[in-house]
Amino acid sequence: MSTDNLQTDVEDESSLISVDAWDRIKHTERFIFMVSVAFVLTFSYLFSRAPVVSDVTQGYHGLTITILIWSIFALGFNLLLGQTGLLSFGHAMFFGTASYATALFSIHVFNEPLLIVVVGVLSALALGVVAAVILLRLHTVYFAIVALAIGQFLYFLASNPLEGITQGINGLEVERTPLLGMVDLEHEYGGILGELVVNNLYLFVGAFFVGAVVFITRVRKSPYGLIFKAIRENETRASFVGLDVWRYKFAAFLLSAGITGLAGALLAVNTQFAGVERLYWSISGDVVVMAVLGGLGTLAGPVIGTFVWFYFKGIVNGYPMLGNYWLLMLAVSFTAVVWVYPDGIWGMITDFTAELREPRNLAEKVKGRLTGGSAAEGSDGGER
């Protein structure tokens, strides 16, 4: 599945520009930090305003903020499924709960963007503790289904009995206030900065995105994160080694819940709205699709998957004629990608670059295809 941690112990004396050096660099935390910063700084520009590129993508600034937020959600979800191997069909519970907590705190207590986001994350963590106690006793499909049930339970709770608090299907409005009482989130920049990031809201969300990526990388690179992987690969063996499996699963679950909550809280700040649909089970399904489409267990995968998803939802949706079939087209693309590349789009890219590095194999393979003979076996197929 993933290739992180693989190169950390590679000792190599080759020159700086060699492929091996690149392999070493690309897995360092500093490199990932810099890539994520560069991504945030250029994403909005490339997608919505750059010449030629944006004419092709037809993107717009508002969608880039939505994509960053949902990427955080997908990354948080991936930490549980891709890293630890726990498939939850109820992650909407953290997303929606954090969204509500953010909105309610801003309405009834105090409204400051940073503070209400923190409150949102804390609410998701609190819910995570309760849900984990129930869920971690269960395995595989029971785990997934009971997670779904808890999510739906909260959905019904919010839409009806708690209507007085949540306003039911009408939802809550979140007023926009300056960050720390002085920075206007809607402030527009001029010049180069304006061209790149447009406004403070994008920077605000972008900073959380980078923070989430860095945090997840730290977890993945740490011995702690390695144990998550060990549990994913073989839970029984992990416990025989003497690890307290429950405790590690609990930690992974909480981390995932907190990061998902961060996304839910940011979405409430971004849309200035919190509604019951964010607790609905289909949200939990959407995020599974995003993570799997992009590539489970990787860092870039969930972000790519989220981008593709929102590309269909936000851009293809608006095409004349074709627009009404955006869901169908997304479903077909998803099926096609996962059929050919079970490791998702990121898996497709890494497969391809791996082949490029072995020109001889590639040439043989192409030749084999051209001559109609059965193609050579898939280059190396990853470590699965």
């Binding site: 919505s48 305003r49 750059a50 010449p51 030629v52 037809q58 717009y60 600034h61 508002g62 969608l63 939505t66 019904f156 839409s159 009806n160 209507e163 039911g168 299907i169 009408n170 939802g171 409005e173 926009r176 206007d184 809607e186 402030h187 527009e188 001029g190 010049g191 180069i192 304006g194 061209e195 447009v198 406004n199 979405l267 849309t271 200035q272 709205f273 509604g275 019951v276 649909e277 964010r278 929102f310 939802k313 936000g314 851009i315 949706n317 608006g318 004349p320 627009g323 009404n324 955006w326 869901l327």
Partner: protein, 460 residues
């Protein structure tokens, strides 16, 4: 919302517009390439839309076209109504640009675009989700520069969009949604509600139903136990039994997601009521009615469903026969404009339009006429023109109230018909009774909940 915030809003629009205008000349922010030279930092004082109004929201439109958006649920549970809305919208674009239909009928419109600007469509599917609707509308506002938009069925989405319209200063009309909060606590300066909601349905029912079914009736309620069902039950109780001639016979709630209605049906039977107010919709209503029929009750008891639409009646099929309900419009409506619209629609699509098709169509006619009358697209001026705007097209004699932006117009008590008659009519309902234009006073619920003064025009 403060003035300062609105200024930054408008400067962002200008800024984004300026970027769009510079197009390939990237990297140079604030270059005045197109018709509107704003450089991002000057807080909306540089608009030169040609008619002396300051830039605000998405105003002024660029060049000689004007973009109008459609943001409705063309997929998902509300898909059937959303697709009808889309067809009405497409037809309105065609007529506004090239003449035909109600544009030719109405002397306030020219058939040569709006104020000489050709209308450019831009559409998106909300799938019934408020978050998707929000992404869509951001695209239309930031990228397509829409001056107005229409479409929408679910109350959740309409309410979220009311707030967006107010924030972005882009007028919006035409969520065919029936939550009273839309014209109550959630009312917005930049949204106009051109249809009824639970309170008006109850009121129109109180006006029309007793004259059709007689005054000596006992009414039982079966309702979905959340805001949709509850608000319809409350309104019906108020206007049919508390203030009306009928007697209250009891009620039974359906928990959300519950599909077996046998306990409610038993309660209905025991109550001895002869009329049922069934506050349900869509496939839920369909299965509920089938269960009533199996219990042998449909012959003795008259059933009323508050709001009927394609979405509600089509799943019922032949079971719809004899069921009463309210519609905001019906193709058999007794006015000339309706017949003009029905003919134009049939010519284009080969089928009979319904309330959803007309909903977006007439909303766009009304917006276009208001712009023509105001002589500008300037949003605050258009909104002021729409407040107390009077017109008479397919919806009948209509007027928007300034206090809550709710429309006052006639409503239609309709009856479901069997398969043969439905084939003949092209729609599953026929008009039983048309009410006079009616609406509650501004001093009663939900108008009392609406604080319109807190919603600014943006150019004060």
């Amino acid at each position: 919302m403060t003035k300062k915030q609105m200024q930054t809003d408008s400067s962002r629009r200008q800024y984004l517009k300026a970027i769009g205008a510079t197009g390939l000349a990237a990297g140079i922010a604030g270059c005045s390439g197109g018709g509107d030279g704003g450089d991002g930092g000057d807080g909306g004082d540089g608009g030169d839309g040609g008619d002396g109004y300051e830039a605000i929201g998405n105003f002024p439109p660029e060049g000689d076209t004007v973009a109008i958006g459609f943001n409705g649920p063309t997929s998902g549970a509300l898909g059937p109504d959303g697709q009808d809305q889309e067809r009405g919208y497409d037809l309105a674009i065609d007529h506004l640009n090239n003449g035909g239909g109600l544009v030719d009928f109405w002397d306030r419109l020219s058939g040569d675009g709006i104020m000489g600007h050709q209308v450019e469509p831009t559409k998106a599917d909300t799938a019934g989700s408020a978050d998707t609707a929000q992404d869509n509308i951001e695209r239309m506002i930031q990228q397509d520069n829409i001056q107005f938009w229409t479409g929408g069925m679910s109350s959740t989405v309409t309410m979220a969009m009311q707030n967006v319209a107010q924030r972005e200063k882009v007028p919006f009309m035409g969520g065919n949604s029936t939550s009273a909060g839309i014209s109550g606590e959630n009312c917005s300066r930049y949204y106009f509600h051109p249809t009824f909601h639970a309170e008006i349905i109850g009121m129109a029912m109180g006006e029309a139903a007793p004259s059709v079914l007689g005054e000596d009736r006992s009414l039982f309620h079966i309702f979905m136990d959340y805001s949709y069902g509850q608000s319809n039950r409350d309104a019906a109780r108020k206007y049919l039994t508390e203030q009306g001639p009928w007697e209250h016979a009891g009620e039974a709630a359906i928990a959300e997601g519950e599909s077996d209605h046998s306990s409610q049906i038993q309660a209905l039977e025991e109550s001895g009521a002869d009329t049922l107010y069934f506050s349900s919709f869509g496939s839920f209503a369909a299965s509920g009615l089938a269960q009533l029929r199996d219990a042998g009750l449909t012959d003795e008891i008259d059933v009323i469903i508050p709001h009927v639409s394609a979405f509600t009646l089509d799943p019922l099929g032949a079971d719809a026969e004899g069921v009463l309900g309210m519609e905001p419009w019906n193709p058999a409506a007794d006015n000339e404009a309706s017949q003009v619209f029905v003919e134009a629609y049939q010519d284009e699509y080969g089928e009979t339009p319904n309330q959803s098709s007309l909903h977006t169509y007439e909303s766009m006619m009304v917006y276009a006429a208001a712009v023509e009358e105001a002589g500008t697209f300037h949003p605050p001026t258009v909104v002021r023109t729409l407040e107390e705007f009077e017109w008479s097209l397919a919806w009948g004699d209509s007027v928007f109230r300034e206090a809550d932006h709710q429309v006052e117009r006639p409503w239609y008590l309709v009856q479901g018909v069997g398969d043969d008659r439905a084939e003949e009519l092209g729609i599953r309902t026929e008009v039983v009774e048309t009410t006079d234009p009616l609406i509650y006073g501004t001093d009663s619920f939900p108008a009392t909940e609406c604080a319109m003064d807190e919603n600014e025009y943006g150019d004060e």
